[in-house]
Symmetry: C2
Subunit: 346 residues, 2 copies
């Protein structure tokens, strides 16, 4: 029976003693095997095996001044979008021997700042952040320590911070044009909270842009901001449909809200798209599960995660600024968007 106090974590010195060599030789066997003779290497590796030795991470980080760790702060994991991108991000890092440290901010700027500081303190070599909007102080802290910083899920080539993302506004404007092309004139929007969330605000701005292009009054656009959930999307739809005049098309800031809106329409006895067209953004699996299938914008989440990982690794290797990458999004026109119903004077 092994009790707690028995726990023995072997150190490099134990291995050295066991193999009858110096600690330096052990270290070399593990880090630069070719600098040591076949025979001694054999001996050392055996000792390593036998003792179950693993280098102490802290000690190694202390001297190497690198942790082989990358941090990511995302709003929440409980969201297919981030989960999918993050999974790809993680797989890519992992394949290169880099560990991922994840934190979530729950969409709260104060929490995000705290999380970033924690990651800094942990000595991450690089960090992935969602969107640009945060305090200058944080960016300075990162820069001062030479921590590679990359933004994802957004992309503004004008920003000095490199990004791997896409143009939220442009994509939403394109979708809005497709809606307008079907004759809709009374639009409404259900959005995630725009406060402190540049992705959400840019999407709303995209709708407004397309409306202005079409000569509509963008300022009058009915807009409900709400939290991220299916139920919230439903509640927002109820709200909008109670207004007068009723919108004929409701553009949602993401698929989750859109699915909630469709479900609510169904419960209210409204036909989609007969009575009201509904669109989403992201193209997650949900989009083709709902009936009618959802018109949305496809975002290459996995590609974004993978390329973000590669970009970050490159920045760490040679810390000279890499350029931003804007990935292409794609309109997915599905049954939830139809022609505007004939105007019956209301």
């Amino acid at each position: 029976m092994q009790t707690e106090s028995d726990k023995i974590v072997p150190t490099i010195a134990d291995v050295a003693r066991h193999a009858q060599v110096s600690t330096a030789t052990v270290s070399r066997c593990l880090n630069t095997p070719d600098l040591v003779q076949e025979k001694t290497r054999q001996k050392v590796l055996e000792a390593v095996e036998e003792l179950g030795y693993t280098p102490n991470f802290g000690a190694r980080a202390l001297v190497a001044r690198r942790t082989n760790t990358i941090g990511a702060v995302i709003p929440t994991m409980e969201n297919a979008i981030f989960a999918r991108g993050l999974q790809a991000f993680q797989e890519t890092l992992n394949a290169r021997g880099v560990t991922l440290l994840v934190a979530s901010s729950q969409y709260r700027p104060d929490l995000e700042e705290e999380q970033i500081r924690t990651l800094i303190a942990r000595g991450v070599d690089g960090i992935l952040l969602i969107g640009y909007r945060r305090s200058e102080a944080i960016y300075r802290a990162l820069e001062r320590r030479g921590i590679a910083t990359l933004v994802a899920w957004a992309c503004d080539p004008a920003s000095p911070v490199p990004a791997v993302g896409f143009d939220n506004g442009k994509a939403m404007a394109a979708l809005t044009r497709a809606v307008l092309a079907r004759g809709h004139r009374r639009l409404a929007v259900i959005s995630a909270q725009t406060e402190g969330n540049d992705r959400a605000s840019e999407r709303v701005a995209g709708v407004r842009l397309a409306m202005r292009e079409a000569g509509l009054d963008a300022a009058a656009l009915p807009l409900v901001e709400t939290v991220y959930s299916i139920d919230a999307g439903g509640a927002a739809l109820s709200d909008l449909m109670a207004r007068s005049p009723r919108p004929t098309a409701v553009l949602c800031g993401n698929d989750v809200l859109a699915v909630g809106a469709i479900r609510q329409a169904r419960r209210m006895g409204l036909g989609v798209p007969g009575d009201v067209s509904i669109t989403g953004f992201d193209d997650i699996e949900l989009a083709t599960v709902i009936e009618p299938e959802l018109t949305t914008v496809h975002v290459p989440h996995r590609e974004m995660g993978t390329r973000a990982a590669l970009a970050l690794l490159e920045m760490i290797g040679k810390p000279h600024a890499v350029g931003s990458v804007a990935l292409e999004t794609r309109l997915c026109l599905r049954a939830s968007l139809g022609p505007a119903p004939a105007d019956r004077g209301q």
Copy 2:
């Protein structure tokens, strides 16, 4: 303009010099503030602020022999179930100043072992694992280092490894009984890969158990094992419905597969539950988005994540085995399960 070489990470010595005290005093100010005079503390904290000092994690871990880090290895983040539980797990840890290190195994035992070893090397204080099934060697390695280990998403009180989870087999058996009670006699199952996945195998075993209780031939149960995706669930349904005799109820190992099966039934022109009843497991949001809404088993994912975090922290505090916790699951009877169609001789 700041170039890379300018990066200066202040150390405790810099702070000490700045505040004209010893490094010991600085350390005390940060860790045991009451052991130092108000006046000097003031001075030190100012210096800390001014230099933007953060203690070096590696150095601290080296001497403290604790990292305040907990690792988790989950099959994938790209799965609402794990994402949700993990999010709660993370929030709870975070509130207590502990950082989460996440790795994913992509359902591959070899990768999982590698990930666990990486986490061990990083000096995690504790680790969360999904299900029990893995090599003895890994459990030994964890035990030898005194790393608190907890299993989630499963719960076998007989195992020496503590768990916060639920009884997959019992829950699935209960659901199966509800299906049988509606007159179904020709059941079939769509499951995730059972190889190396105790949650999946136990669910299948639960179905068989309930069948035997009802005097049915459990060995003859049609079973399709497939990967985790909506499309795969659909393909599996096609397969099953092509067999003779056709099943009247298809029990799926999780909601994602079930939703895929329902969508496929819709595409094949089959009525659910008129022609075939379909059930899931997990009760994720998807379950009430699909039409008809899905009969499934509700699992308290967030509660599981939170309690797992608390249990792990407790184990780290005083390393004497804590007991396993079996959470209750709940049947959610919804429209996708109906009475067995009248037998028309085939």
